[in-house]
């Protein structure tokens, strides 16, 4: 692409790109994000390209590999425009039929449609899916629409317009004021007001001459993948947000710190940066405004603690990712000792929207204190695993049951863990809590970065808490004693309880130790690590007590507290369990009911998962 010299030229390019995008032209949009790729979408995409070619339709039909539209549960996904026909769970074998029937003749293939499990209706169009009905997709609006590898696609939707508006029409102070008035709060978890953070940093940059802005894409929470999806599906929105931030704070250098575990995000972002440079949207004298700005990528090397801002800075400087006490905050003394502003991917991607539509528009979405939308990845025991964007203030019930489609296999909802290893569990009785910073904090959870894991009746809440504790214990960098030793002590207690060796007083110990770790740890990792344990003791005390006093795991998960037996009425002696038993604990004669020798059983559960006749009992 030619270098864009001015705001007028950008506008002209946007309008050319937009006109070129004929809404009536047949387009096939295939999700090519990590989730769908893992389900085989790339093979579908390749097959589609070759079939369209063979059918001689290459000139009239456009094929777009898009970022993740969020409905991961049903991937690979194809949407066929202009009718917006939505096909799910598509395999390469379905492609010739799609081309023959739907693309060439406009006929709908019933078998590839999504069936609403509640009403049984076959859903023809993307927008009619219950999954999308209660969402408000702003940051994710172009995921699933544009090809993230083409800057023209982003321009066609008005991309870089907000940047042009700021660079040529607003002073840095005005830009900061706009962000302040929008009420945007940091989407990385802490929820600090973004505009104020920018202002603090700008003041220090004015004093010290220069600084750095950083995009924190070290998305380490297990079960959270929204940052990845934004970078994969719409990388230019993050770049645009960062240019605006750089201008507002008087900073000319930006770094995106991405997890190395996200190869596709890195690939798409690198390409987007290259394209933006070629187009003159990064580099010297952007749009003839006199403002210079450029971006670099740094890869994380697999340390959860590096999501903490001071640890992240240390990692960029090439050292181990240990946090340091604040103050001084990075806004004063950050990367290489200079003022540094760090924001999460979603915060940066929200910036172009705020400046394009105005602070008042953004502040009109959400609740009194929590403005805008929030992206959640809903995972675990849920029908519609995926990525959703909702206005702040929706209820947890809407999120899980209306959008998420509820719990599969007729199981009962037990809890929702919000905010990953730093967050807390919210039980059934609080399903009507509204999602905003204050409400969730009052229940002992946090909005966090937006990971939402659903647990059902088969999830043992003590084991769940133990899982999170073991995660934070392993990821503790070891610098400060409360986190290093405290998490270890709490984990040891939880492991004892799960092993059937819990003692009276354990819960009080966990609560006391949890408070100490929270109060005295150096960084956010330690300060929030007891949350999953404390919140589950608060809401599921009876389940802990069953483990400790009755030596019973009500959900049949903790190995030491369960036994496997074979129901002789259901067992037909097929031998599958005996052949696969890792400890040779199952004996019997073919054709007759088998028996598990309890003293030899290691409770690995292999027999339970392999039995075709439902003959293995867990008690």
């Amino acid at each position: 692409m030619m270098r864009i010299q001015s705001a007028a030229e950008l506008e002209a390019l946007q309008s050319t790109a937009s006109t070129a995008r004929d809404a009536n032209k047949p387009r096939l949009r295939v999700c090519d994000g990590t989730g769908c790729r893992a389900l085989g979408s790339h093979a579908v995409l390749q097959k589609l390209i070759s079939e369209i070619q063979t059918a001689g339709l290459a000139a009239s039909v456009e094929i777009v590999g898009t970022g993740c539209p969020g409905f991961c549960e049903c991937g690979p996904l194809i949407t066929i425009d202009p009718q917006h026909i939505f096909y799910q769970k598509v395999s390469p074998q379905d492609v010739p039929e799609i081309v023959r029937q739907t693309v060439a003749e406009g006929k709908v293939i019933e078998r590839l449609l999504y069936q609403d499990p509640k009403t049984g209706d076959m859903i023809h169009h993307e927008a009619e899916l219950p999954f999308y009905q209660n969402q408000k997709r702003l940051v994710l609006s172009l995921n699933g629409q544009i090809d993230p590898t083409k800057i023209e696609d982003y321009l066609a939707w008005g991309g870089y317009g907000a940047m042009a508006k700021v660079l040529t029409g607003l002073t840095p102070e005005q830009a900061i004021d706009e962000v302040k008035r929008s009420g945007l709060r940091g989407r990385g978890g802490a929820g600090f007001r973004t505009g104020i953070k920018w202002e603090l940093c700008r003041n220090n940059v004015l004093k010290q001459g220069d600084g750095t802005i950083i995009c924190n894409a070290d998305e380490g929470d297990p079960g959270a993948f929204m940052d990845r999806s934004v970078l994969e599906g719409n990388p230019h929105s993050v770049i645009e947000g960062m240019i605006v931030g750089g201008y507002a704070m008087g900073i000319q250098r930006g770094i995106v710190y991405v997890r190395a575990e996200y190869p596709l995000a890195i690939e798409n972002l690198s390409l987007a940066i290259k394209q933006a440079r070629q187009a003159g949207l990064l580099g010297k004298n952007i749009l003839d405004s006199g403002f210079d700005f450029d971006l670099a990528i740094r890869l994380g090397a697999g340390a959860f603690v590096c999501g903490e801002e001071t640890a992240l800075i240390s990692s960029i400087e090439g050292r181990i990712g240990e946090p340091r006490p604040r103050p001084p905050y990075p806004a004063e003394e950050g990367l290489w000792g200079k003022p540094t502003n760090i924001n999460n991917v979603k915060s940066w991607a929200s910036i172009p929207l705020i400046l394009k539509h105005g602070a008042d528009w953004y502040a009109g979405i959400g609740t009194e204190k929590s403005k805008g939308t929030m992206i959640f990845s809903i995972v675990g025991k849920i029908h519609n695993t995926g990525l959703v964007e909702v206005p702040m203030g929706v209820t947890l019930r809407q999120l899980i049951f209306d959008i998420g489609g509820g719990i599969p296999n007729q199981k009962a909802f037990k809890a929702a863990q919000i905010g990953g290893p730093s967050g807390g569990c919210i039980p059934r009785e609080h399903l009507d809590v509204t999602i905003d910073y204050e409400s969730l904090t009052s229940l002992g959870a946090i909005v966090g970065s937006g990971g939402l894991v659903v647990a059902d009746e088969d999830t043992c809440i003590v084991d769940f808490a133990r899982y999170f504790m073991s995660f934070t214990q392993q990821e503790s960098c070891g610098k400060c004693v409360p986190c290093r030793i405290g998490t270890r002590a709490m984990l040891a207690t939880l492991e004892r309880i799960c092993a059937g060796q819990g003692e009276p007083g354990d819960l009080e110990y966990l609560q006391e130790m949890g408070e100490h770790v929270k109060r005295s740890s150096l960084c956010g990792l330690g300060q929030t690590s007891p949350n999953p344990v404390l919140s589950t003791i608060r809401y599921f005390r009876d389940e802990y007590e069953a483990h400790i006093h009755e030596k019973r795991c009500p959900s049949h998960v903790c190995k030491a507290l369960i036994t496997y037996t074979i129901n002789p009425e259901k067992c037909n002696g097929c031998t599958v369990c005996a052949k696969n038993c890792t400890s040779s604990a199952i004996v019997g004669v073919r054709g007759e009911p088998y028996v598990i020798q309890e003293e030899m059983c290691t409770r690995c559960g292999v027999c339970f998962s392999l039995c075709h006749f439902d003959a293995i009992r867990v008690e």
Binding site: C72, F225, V453, T582
Partner: protein, 158 residues
């Protein structure tokens, strides 16, 4: 793969020229050899002018680095929360018992290395096992057995 001092030097100088950090340089070497040979740590220390102890600290702090050579096939079990509640511990245990190694270890014939990852973010597919970069979703004991069998069969072919 044979360790080449020359290659390592080249990788290091390229990183230094691009203004990369010690971590970036080690990442590049790790990608090349799939582990960090001792020679690389010494050379990296010299090139970056940092004590070997600091390079060693970096190489052992981050999960992405390994100081031991890896097997021909890398099995990576996702231990993210979604995978956990859907049964990844059982999947991991099955692989450990089938290969007779613990997580982080390599089989004696250097055919398999078993590792875990905190989350791949493809939670709709959980539990996930990644074999040499290839994702297998909704894993269970039976599918693990099949997966290992397929690899072993391929290996047995001349």
């Amino acid at each position: 793969m044979e360790i080449s001092i020359e290659d390592i030097y080249q990788t290091l100088s390229a990183e230094i020229q691009e203004g990369g950090s010690l971590i970036a340089a080690l990442e590049a070497i790790q990608e090349q050899y799939r582990y960090l040979p001792p020679e690389a740590l010494v050379l990296a220390s010299e090139s970056f002018g940092v004590p070997l102890s600091q390079t060693y600290a970096v190489a052992t702090f981050y999960n992405a680095f390994s100081l031991k050579p890896k097997g021909k096939h890398c099995l990576n079990v996702c231990m993210g929360t979604a995978c956990h509640v859907r049964g990844s511990p059982q999947v991991l245990e099955r692989i450990e018992s089938k290969l007779a190694i613990q997580t982080g270890e390599t089989t004696r014939d250097h055919l398999f290395t078993l590792e875990t990852v905190n989350c791949l973010g493809a939670c709709a597919l959980g539990p996930i096992v990644v074999t040499d970069g290839e994702y297998s979703g909704q894993m269970n004991v039976a599918k693990v057995d099949k997966l290992l069998k397929t690899i072993l069969r391929q290996e047995a072919q001349p």
